[in-house]
Symmetry: D2
Subunit: 146 residues, 4 copies
């Protein structure tokens, strides 16, 4: 892991912000790993989050991955900053079917205001796991007005 | 509108598929316009779909836009096909705050198997509306196995 | 045109910067229109810029479009700033064959540091023209150290 | 390397196609490594390929990376196919200054018609190297009409 968190309380700060992302509770996602510049979020499969063929909707996969990449960026920011997504791109590699989605986000490059991240999403099944998505994104850190 | 639907029943076909996207009901989205190559979907704001600052999560905006672009592509496909998202990119232009998100998806180019689409998302408020997102995506049409 | 240039000398400023993009001369590109937030660049077809099937290489199409979008953003910046591409995405819609490539870049949204742009590329031929590419990009304005 | 080339002559086939990408000779690029699903291309720095600050133009970096990713995909295709770029996205991480650009493209997923790739670009300098770009792309394999 080539990154060092400038904020020693980065784990608590990420957890606190994640707990205020109400959509994560609505979808049933949990943050399962927080390291400097790398975050993992897990979403158990739910039939009420599917598209017309019974797979997790591409947008739901995007939602979980976007938060994983965003919190990877946020883990390296100093206190008093907010993180927002500037842009993201996702390639859907396979249908998102299985027991749960595991999304990992990683920082690739930090700058003064922008952080570039990438990540992958896997579906875990009884017989193994399959990569279903690949994402790249640009995050921006802004002084938090809250 | 430069596109013509090869399937005269494209409106019913789009509506039927949309009604089977269970995540749309879970989020509370409605399809409000279906034309050949252009589809509009509306999502009323809900606090349980927000990120840490109280705006609609970027992934939720993506979910609604992805369906709008996907159904724009689907409206031009012949019967017996399924539409899947190959990839999408979204630029978030402003915080998604307001009364409801209006997402419009449009076909830019149709090919033998791939359809390229673009679209925009606006937040409607009491005092007007603001563009909050811009998306481009590649959709694939596959013979439907259902 | 919804944008107003804050710098009354924006046309001269864009032309001057374009003339210092040495790759534009190497490729044979010309800037053919400069308006506030909108720029057009033209590249005559050259066989020595092609890929293996005799079409303009996707990267060359990208190069011309990237400059068109970048200068669209630059036209709205105050003097003393430099523009750099943060990220871009291009969808290739059709083979780039014909007499010349016409690339148009437009500003979608300006922020304090970031400008979001989109654009299209067409190939002009004796019998008409065809859209061959669609691009979206994020540009950043930085105080120019030169 | 998790991929196996179905064509035992994939190295010769990639080299032959690369030699017909006339833009690669025009820019001065060389293909330096060809493995199943992974290709490296090198471009020595040239002042006549720069943007207004003397760095390699983002579009030139894109051109080299696009070919690296495209040939990574092509290396896994059966004989008699052509490869075309459907879409690509590049994040520019740092100014492309240095002695030469090294671009590596890798296949992430192969499907019946589409291949998803990713890659990175580095600038090599006397004192080391720096990652300057990250790309993801979708490639399509079509029966070659030549």
């Amino acid at each position: 892991m080539p990154f060092t968190a400038v904020d020693p309380d980065y784990v608590a700060r990420v957890r606190d912000s994640f707990s205020r992302q109400r959509v994560m509770q609505t979808l049933g996602a949990e943050i399962t790993r927080i390291e400097p510049g790398e975050v993992e979020i897990v979403l158990p499969f739910r039939a009420d989050l599917t598209q017309q063929h019974g797979f997790l909707h591409a947008g739901i996969v995007t939602t979980i991955l976007d938060s994983a990449l965003g919190y990877a960026a946020y883990s390296l920011m100093p206190p008093g900053h907010a993180v927002l997504t500037v842009e993201l791109k996702i390639n859907l590699l396979a249908p998102a079917k299985g027991d749960r989605l595991v999304a990992v986000g990683r920082v690739v490059r930090t700058g003064r205001t922008l952080t570039v991240c990438q990540g992958e999403g896997w579906m875990e099944r009884a017989d193994g796991h399959e990569q279903v998505a690949m994402m790249t994104a640009t995050m921006i850190g802004l002084p938090d007005r809250e």
